[in-house]
């Protein structure tokens, strides 16, 4: 297709996806507060709008008007840049995530992802996750505060350690699909076993899904792996000295990472946008996107459910779990999958 | 289109910057980073030649260079940490005695 149509389509897709993603980040916060509140036998936000639905808007306005403190002896360039790094790389990996099949408009076929179908989409996401560690490490160091430094070092060591298990758990899926392209991996999960069990990778690779789930919790610094930012440990870890908008950026980066990890889990393990298709043509074009969003919602609900239920690991238990249990498990899964496929 | 020589000149510039950093810097960690810069310049040269001669062996060799650089970085940084523990300084001009 001509280059200007491609650029226009990419700009429109970027705008829509960013808008939806930022709204989803805000309302994931609301969902978490409601669900965790109900699990703890209390209401959660109810006053601001019906069912507290305007609470994210109130929080956003609060963050905008809060006083933005910069402590005197911080290393200014990195202090200001670290939240930006965290947010930018949390939002970048959405660029290669496909939300549905290609749709055909005006004679051109547009893939439902911001870029076209990238050959090495999975490697790109792993790369962006690796760079996201810098936001946390530099925030902890530039705050000129021993609690922030230790919190930042702990958090980045945890993220780097669990990246390995994350990558290895995905290799089993890659062997089954034969390609790094996310669209190909979703197409490889079409069909059913015995007529009713869908051909999703979660049924074929349950161990890999478990490894991915644990590594995802550790990468996004969520319970049970949220020691670096727990309130009773190291004050507040790497974002102790941040206030107002910069703290909101870290918050946004954490929830955007959660959503990205959820989208990736949906594409790789839960069958992507495969689901029953019915209805007239316009509904048929949009139904895959709805299935995709429904599966991401289920994944986020499990995230929040685990947050309300489990206690957190101590740091040495956390590192031992990552290196001594999860990594060998992912390797064994890889070897077993390779042997099963080569047989 | 871009001729091969442009890539080689860029690779040479990066390598020269790495050597310059190795010579003029006094902090051990910065010297080590100049070594990594030299290795990156060489990697670019490998990939450019792989594209020029249309073989993939150049790219596979870049893979091995990266692996060796990773191993060297790990051991080198561990040595730097031990040197810091005994000498309390990161300045190479003050680490010039073979005994403590």
């Amino acid at each position: 297709m001509p280059i200007w149509i491609y650029i226009l389509a990419s700009v429109i897709k970027s705008a829509i996806v960013l808008l939806v993603l930022l709204t989803a980040v805000a309302y994931t916060v609301w969902l978490e507060r409601k669900v965790v509140g109900r699990m703890q036998n209390r209401w959660g936000p109810t006053r601001v709008g019906p069912f507290g639905l305007l609470q994210p808007a109130a929080d956003g306005i609060k963050f905008l008007f809060k006083e933005d403190l910069t402590p005197p002896h911080v290393y200014k360039p990195l202090f200001l840049a670290a939240p930006l790094i965290a947010v930018v790389f949390a939002l970048t990996s959405i660029a290669v995530i496909p939300f549905g099949n290609s749709i055909t408009l005006f004679g051109y076929s547009f893939p439902l992802q911001i870029t076209t179908d990238v050959n090495t989409g999975l490697l790109l996401i792993l790369g962006v996750t690796s760079i996201g560690v810098y936001g946390v490490a530099l925030a902890g160091w530039s705050s000129n505060n021993k609690y922030s430094l230790l919190g930042g070092l702990r958090a980045s060591a945890q993220m780097v350690s669990y990246e390995i298990s994350l990558g290895l758990s995905l290799v089993g899926v890659l062997i089954l699909a034969g390609s790094f392209s996310l669209t190909d991996i979703v197409h490889a999960q079409q069909g059913h076993f015995w007529g009713f069990i869908p051909h999703w990778n979660i049924f074929v690779q349950p161990v890999a899904f478990f490894c991915y789930l644990m590594a995802a919790y550790a990468e996004t610094n969520r319970i049970p792996f949220d020691l670096p930012e727990a309130e009773t440990e190291l004050v507040a870890g790497y974002h102790t000295e941040y206030s107002a908008m910069k703290f909101a950026m870290f918050f946004m980066a954490e929830y955007a990472n959660m959503i990205t990890v959820g989208c990736l889990a949906t594409l790789l393990f839960l069958g992507g946008w495969n689901g029953p298709i019915f209805g007239p043509a316009i509904v048929q074009a949009l139904l895959p996107v709805l299935w995709f969003c429904a599966k991401v919602f289920v994944f986020l609900f499990i995230y929040i459910w685990v947050r309300g239920t489990l206690p957190r690991f101590r740091y040495d238990q956390l590192m031992a779990f990552g290196w001594k249990f999860l990594l060998p498990l992912a390797l064994v899964n890889l070897i077993a999958t390779a042997i099963a496929v080569a047989w | 289109m871009v001729p091969l020589s442009y890539y080689l000149v860029l690779s040479g510039i990066l390598f020269a910057c790495g050597v310059t950093g190795f010579l003029i810097k006094r902090n051990i960690i910065t010297i080590f980073m100049s070594i990594e810069l030299m290795l990156n310049g060489v990697n670019l040269s490998f990939v450019a030649f792989a594209a020029h001669w249309h073989t993939l062996s150049g790219q596979v060799f870049v893979f091995f260079v990266m692996v060796v650089a990773a191993a060297e970085a790990a051991v080198g940084l561990a040595i730097i940490i031990s040197v810091y523990r005994t000498r309390e300084t990161l300045n190479v001009d003050q680490v010039n005695l073979l005994k403590l």
Binding site: V133, A137 | I29, E36, V47, D93
Partner: protein
């Protein structure tokens, strides 16, 4: 002739050279580390221009995302401060920089004078089995090469990494007892 390849090459090349020069100019090691990360990212872009997408991805994941994290950790843990000027560094300044400038200009002049102007990517690749949708450097083409022809170097580098891990753990650990290893009691 101005083409998109040339423009992108110049953009990434400018970022790489600017990062390299910034590494030399900055006094604090953390700024040098961040400049080096910028150089590596720009080089990943250059690798993509040369059709090496797997190498570009590995450059970002391994080099910029793991090795440089090690460097940044060390700089933070050892609390490395800014550099001071000493006698040795002034001498190196006076002789090193003009020397390197002269050497690199000479090499650049020789290379540019004695080479053609054809594009680096022109021509046919020898592995005729490149899958339809991928570039020559995609994982499907590098994988068989890595595990068939280059299997021995691959296995040797895995042993090398294992040895490096063990060495790093031993070197960086604190000595357990003052005065060295315990002596065997003989009587």
């Amino acid at each position: 002739m101005i083409s998109v390849h040339l423009v992108l090459f110049l953009v990434f090349g400018a970022i790489a050279v600017a990062g390299a020069v910034n590494l030399l100019v900055q006094r604090h090691p953390i700024n040098s580390a961040l400049s080096l990360i910028a150089v590596m990212a720009a080089l990943a872009g250059e690798y993509l221009l040369l059709g090496a997408e797997f190498v570009a991805a590995v450059q970002v994941i391994v080099y910029a995302g793991a090795i440089m994290v090690l460097f940044v950790f060390t700089i933070m843990l050892l609390n490395a401060g800014e550099e001071e000027r000493t006698q040795g560094s002034r001498v190196a300044f006076m002789f090193g920089i003009p020397g390197m400038l002269l050497g690199s200009l000479l090499v650049a002049w020789v290379v540019l004078k004695h080479s053609g102007t054809e594009a680096v990517n022109a021509g046919v690749w020898d592995s005729a089995s490149i899958p339809a949708r991928s570039v020559p450097g995609s994982p499907e083409t590098i994988g068989p090469l890595l595990f068939h022809e280059f299997l021995l170097p691959f296995e040797i580098t895995s042993i090398l990494i294992l040895v490096a891990i063990m060495g790093a753990v031993v070197l960086a650990s604190r000595p357990t007892a003052p005065g060295g290893p315990p002596q065997k009691v003989k009587d």
